[in-house]
Symmetry: C2
Subunit: 141 residues, 2 copies
């Protein structure tokens, strides 16, 4: 697979799209960050029904891009546990803006209303709270 995170230009928007500009990467990060999923099987259970080969490929690319860590689970060393990195948490603003845009334009959007309201009115506070919950766990890696 010749997917070496090419840089098509030095435009920072293009750079972001080179890393997460596809239909799946930000869904996997959503599951890691918002739903706190950590195991391969858990990602397969999301409503988007990602195929296991696509999931495996995405997780590898995300690890290579420095957005996901992969480690042996502390409880069962034969099980792999995934976690988002600080670089992935820095995509929170992008994801929250996508959440707001999708909520505005998708009639059946189903994100919890208090969460959407907070993303719209207190984005900085919401991001700070999510970071406070997630970052101490990153530090262990």
């Amino acid at each position: 697979m010749k997917k070496e995170l090419p840089c098509r230009s030095d435009c920072p928007i293009t750079f972001s799209l080179d890393v997460v500009g596809d239909k799946w990467s930000l869904i996997v990060l959503r599951d890691l960050i918002f739903a706190r999923k950590r195991y391969f099987q858990e990602f397969l259970g999301s409503p988007e029904k990602i195929a296991s080969n696509i999931l495996a490929s995405r997780l590898k690319l995300l690890e290579k891009a420095g957005l996901v860590t992969r480690a042996a689970d502390a409880v069962n060393a034969r099980r792999v546990i995934y976690a988002p990195t600080a670089k992935a948490l820095d995509l929170l603003p992008v994801m929250l803006e996508m959440l707001l845009w999708g909520t505005k334009y998708h009639a059946k959007a189903n994100a919890p209303e208090p969460f959407v309201r907070r993303a719209a009115t207190d984005r900085a506070g919401l991001i700070a709270d999510l970071r406070a919950q997630l970052e101490p766990k990153l530090a262990l890696r």
Copy 2:
């Protein structure tokens, strides 16, 4: 071409990715919104070197998704002019956050420094200014 903007789930992030989750859509919107490009040939000239068949396909999908309008040019009716819609301008926050993330993580990111600084410190003001410049032109369509 069976690309009917499928909805993989009712998650609003997924909805946004179903519409603009690819390597090119937001680059075309960047050219329309920030660089004010309006003609097919102009998009071909961007540093990412989009292929003309991909550009044609993207413009069709963006039009179908209500993000781009396509009209006969007022000056030369045989020439097609493209413009972003209000729905596309509502993606400004997503694009600016991608700009900030890309600027942080791409060593060679080349967005103008005053623009990046303003996106980071006065995002609402920057968006209001961009809207004020772009929206009166949308109203003509």
